[in-house]
Structures are given as structure tokens and as C-alpha cells.
């Protein structure tokens, strides 16, 4: 990836996170975390194909 492209990745990813924070944080500076969140509600198994990879 070129330097220019990588700077653009930083710009886009940074802006997205800023937007994310803006939705989570009301004006008093406290983050709103949905009640259902936490370890039990977590799902990290989110790969695009949705299936377990097969050994090759």
C-alpha cells in the first residue's frame, strides 16, 4: 500500500471512530453502553464467509 493510501486509511478510520464516539457519548462525557453488551453478548466469530475455515 502506498504512503498516500495509508494516510487516507488513517483519515477514514479515524473519522469513523470519531463518529462512533459521537453516537456513544452524550454531551456530559459519559459513554452510553447498551445494557446487552458485555462478554456474554460478544460475538467475535464474524468472518465474512460465516463458516469455519477448512485446513488445506
Amino acid at each position: 500500500m502506498s504512503v498516500r493510501s495509508e494516510v487516507e486509511v488513517v483519515r477514514a478510520a479515524g473519522a469513523r471512530l470519531g463518529d462512533e464516539l459521537a453516537t456513544l457519548m452524550p454531551s456530559n462525557g459519559t459513554c452510553r453502553v447498551p445494557a446487552a453488551s458485555g462478554p456474554s453478548a460478544r460475538s467475535w466469530r464474524t468472518w465474512p464467509s460465516g463458516r469455519t475455515p477448512t485446513p488445506t
Binding site: 504512503v3 471512530l17 464474524t46
Partner: protein, 232 residues
């Protein structure tokens, strides 16, 4: 977010020093084990978060913009200039890649922590896999030399399609993000799973229990990864 804001400022500072004409050559800073550094960063971020209060979003956006401005001003012949990153001396170019890593991993973490499905963007897997050795060097749990080295081959599935070789000698390891060849254990997994497990966002136990990795060869070696690279 406070950590990201704090480190945007720190990176901007590192770049400013690296590009300063009158910068005096200095010895590389001592590199502390990752587990110590990460605990320190977490404490610093908490203190910064408390200090910022309702100003967190503004501080984050301001620091991110300052860092972008700094990157924008780097000239083509300056990207290889050395900067004193806490993980060792890195080029300014490497700082750019590390910022991509920071935003990707912590971005994933924030979305994940609020209970939404989180994905690392496909286009960033390569940068994350390529910079992972820096992190692993800081988190490796050194032991006595092994009588026989352990050789892992990670087969990363689409969208990245990459072979990564990891060889553990006990007192050291070598990792090649563009590896090949035979191995004692072959682990086939999605690049996101590989990245999140090696950065300690999920455990190898979770990955194995979920069947998110296919293992051929020595099954025990897959479970041992958590011992060699404990999460920070």
C-alpha cells in the same frame, strides 16, 4: 479513545523529533516487555480520560487531525527517518502503519465492547499481519532453549490468502509473514481471527473451542500459543 488521542499526540511528537534537522542522534530507548508497556498505557489512558471529561471527543478529533497534518507534511525522502517508538526505533513510515493498526484494533474493540458485530476491514488485514511481529516481539514469553524447535504454519484464508511461518526455539522465535514450507502444526484460520488472537483480543482457547481454526499435525501446539504469547 483516550488512548488513541494520547498516542496521536505522541506519534505527532515522535515524527516532529524524527524530522527535526537539529535532532541529535540518541541511543535507542530501552524496550520494556509489552505486558508492562500495555499496563502503563492503560493507566495513562484512564488518567487522561478522567482529565478530559466531556472533552474526550474534541481531544480525539483534534489529535487525530494534528497527526494527519503531520503525516501530510512528510516529504518522500523523510519516510525512512528513524523515530524512537517505545517498541524500538521505527521509521516514520512504520509509525504510519502502526497508526493504522491502532485505529483498526481499538476500533474493533470499541464496536465489540458495545455489543455490535465487529469486523476488521478487509483492506487492512495485510498491514495488521505485517506489523504483528513488532507486537509479538514484546509479548514473547521466553523459556529455556528447546531441544527441538517448534514450527507453525498459519494458513490465512480469503480475503488475505497468506502463509505465515512461526518458529519457536524456546529462548527466541522467528516469524515470517510471507512464509512457506512444512510445519509441526498447520493452523488454518481467517486473518481476522489470527490478528485478534495474537493481539490478545480473543484467546486461543476461545478460538479452538469455537472451531474457528483448523489444525493439522500436533494439536497440542495450537493450545500452547497462549503460553508463548500471553495477552498483554
Amino acid at each position: 479513545m483516550a488512548h488513541l488521542a494520547q498516542w496521536a499526540d505522541a506519534y505527532a511528537d515522535l515524527i516532529r523529533h524524527a524530522l527535526a534537522d537539529d535532532a541529535e542522534p540518541a541511543p535507542a530507548p530501552p524496550v520494556l516487555p509489552y505486558v508492562i508497556r500495555s499496563a502503563r498505557y492503560a493507566e495513562e489512558a484512564k488518567a487522561y480520560r478522567r482529565a478530559l471529561g466531556a472533552g474526550l471527543l474534541d481531544a480525539y478529533r483534534r489529535s487525530q487531525q494534528d497527526l494527519l497534518d503531520r503525516f501530510e507534511r512528510v516529504q518522500p525522502n523523510e519516510w525512512d527517518r528513524p523515530a524512537r517508538h517505545p517498541s524500538g526505533v521505527r521509521s516514520v513510515r512504520a509509525l504510519l502503519s502502526l497508526r493504522v493498526v491502532e485505529l483498526s484494533i481499538h476500533g474493533w474493540e470499541i464496536v465489540h465492547r458495545v455489543g455490535r458485530p465487529a469486523m476488521l476491514p478487509d483492506g487492512r488485514h495485510a498491514a495488521l499481519v505485517d506489523t504483528l511481529p513488532i507486537r509479538l516481539r514484546g509479548s514473547f514469553a521466553r523459556r529455556d532453549p528447546l531441544p527441538e524447535r517448534l514450527r507453525y504454519l498459519f494458513v490465512l484464508t480469503p480475503p488475505l490468502l497468506r502463509l505465515v511461518t512461526l518458529v519457536i526455539y524456546g529462548d527466541r522465535f522467528e516469524i515470517d509473514p510471507n512464509g512457506d514450507g512444512s510445519a509441526d502444526a498447520v493452523l488454518t484460520l481467517h486473518p481476522q481471527t489470527y490478528i485478534l488472537a495474537f493481539t490478545g483480543r480473543i484467546t486461543w482457547r476461545e478460538v479452538l473451542d469455537a472451531g474457528a481454526v483448523g489444525v493439522t499435525g500436533r494439536q497440542d501446539l495450537a493450545a500452547d500459543l497462549a503460553g508463548w504469547f500471553p495477552p498483554g
